[in-house]
């Protein structure tokens, strides 16, 4: 019997029939892929840069005031309480005005900051630059100089308020950290963009891990025309070898129109509750079924277009 395998392999190894020309379609698909890819990359870059610049503004404006107030207004007992948030703030932001360094005489703090800033620089260098974001940054830095001066002037702000402010900085810093990783994620997602066809969606709907084996034959049509012309007058689900069958048809408003446990009971486009003829439009069919080998139920959905 292995002989047959050999024969098949030998004969078919150089099987290269005349192929139809599908290059035009391929070219279109590849181009579309690239366009979508570029668009997605652009969007995420813009988004991340925007958040980044906002975070920078907030940081540059608020961190010096926080440090000043920390030095001016805190007693020794308070220092231990506030030290943590400020450390975090400083660790998360490398964009601190250097002139303020003298206020914080903490060796650990500066070391930590150096390490963090090195990491950040590495991360940032990976991000390609977009012109829009650059312009925005320039504008915003122009604005934020003035705001930082304004903020620096009233150094009589009670430190309770400053605490809140420093927490805001932390939250914004966290916000701005997240998008850095997003371009990479998008890359991986992007490569699968054209793979996400119906099959993967259907696979997800299989509940539980116990169901094994190739799915049984099912064909759920997506269109039918109950206009009594003898063609496609009824919605017929082709199914073979099922143990359990339950078809429900909903309107787009999620109202149940039709339900059947018999695969020979077809829907004819009439609402069985009030006998009214359903208008042409879109309906949703949900089929719950089970083959002889299945342990759990499987679900399959179809968008049904009713055309009269």
């Amino acid at each position: 019997m292995n002989n047959l395998d050999k024969i098949l392999k030998e004969k078919m190894s150089d099987f290269a029939p005349d192929a139809p020309n599908v290059w035009a379609g391929i070219e279109q698909g590849v181009q579309a892929n690239q366009v979508v890819h570029a668009a997605k990359m652009g969007k995420t870059l813009f988004g991340s840069k925007l958040v980044l610049t906002i975070a920078k503004i907030v940081a540059i404006a608020l961190v010096p005031t926080a440090i000043i107030s920390y030095n001016y207004f805190t007693t020794d007992t308070d220092k231990t309480n506030i030290e943590k948030p400020i450390q975090e703030v400083v660790a998360n932001q490398e964009q601190i005005a250097l002139s303020e360094n003298d206020f914080v005489d903490n060796e650990q703090l500066t070391k930590h900051r150096e390490r963090e800033s090195n990491k950040k620089m590495d991360k940032e260098s990976n991000i390609p630059f977009s012109k829009k974001a650059l312009k925005k940054e320039q504008r915003s830095t122009g604005v934020d100089n003035s705001t930082s001066i304004k903020d620096n002037v009233p150094s009589t702000i009670p430190h309770a308020v400053e605490k809140k402010v420093s927490h805001e900085v932390i939250s914004s810093a966290v916000k701005y950290e997240k998008p850095i990783s997003s371009p990479k994620e998008n890359n991986t997602k992007q490569s699968n963009f054209f793979d996400e066809n119906e099959s993967t969606e259907e696979n997800k709907e299989v509940k539980g891990e116990q169901n094994k084996g190739i799915d049984i034959l099912i064909k759920m049509p997506t269109v039918f025309s109950p206009d009594n012309d003898g063609v496609n007058d009824k919605y017929v689900v082709l199914i073979e070898g099922e143990k359990f069958y339950n078809l429900k048809i909903y309107t787009m408003q999620e109202e149940l129109l039709f339900e059947s446990n018999d695969k020979l009971n077809f829907w004819d486009g009439i609402n069985p509750k009030n006998g009214q003829i359903c208008n042409s439009g879109t309906y949703v069919g949900v089929l719950v079924y089970k083959s002889a080998e299945d342990v759990n139920l499987r679900t399959k959905r179809a968008i049904i277009k009713l055309v009269r």
């Binding site: 047959l4 395998d5 099987f15 698909g29 590849v30 054209f194």
Partner: protein, 178 residues
Amino acid sequence: MSQPIDLKLIEKCIEGNAKAQKQLYDATVRQMYGVCLRYCKNPEDAKDVMQEGYIRVFGKMKQFEAKGVIEAWMRRIFVNCALENIRVNKFYTDTSDIDEAYNLTFENLTMDKISQKEIMLTLEKLALGYRTVLNLYAIEGYSHAEIADMLQINEGTSKSQLARARMAFVKEYKKITS
């Protein structure tokens, strides 16, 4: 077969050079169409699968490490595409089992002279499950474990399916030649 594809062409394809992509397409299209045709029920499906396969190949070219032969890598993608197509369309029109006690008496001599066309005709007559397993095991050379993984079936199922598929193939071939 045509001249081997050099690495420069592949690099250009990865950069997105349309000319290089067309070159690669021209060099491999016949072979890949053969793969598609073996798995798909009809030429139209094969055409669709081939188009999707090439789009996927060019999209994922970055993942190709220049370890193996590009044809083999592409072939795997096309096989996966074809399997997905089968799964989506589910053309299981004939899943009736043939008699397991089917008495197998065939002369190897007659099988030796089988032509590619006859093989394709016979494959078309087979049920899709048999055809897929036969394609994967005999022609593509995947192991039963790999097939089980690809089709999400048991390894034992794969083996029994293959045994039945061989019998069915011989049976169909006899029908065609007689």
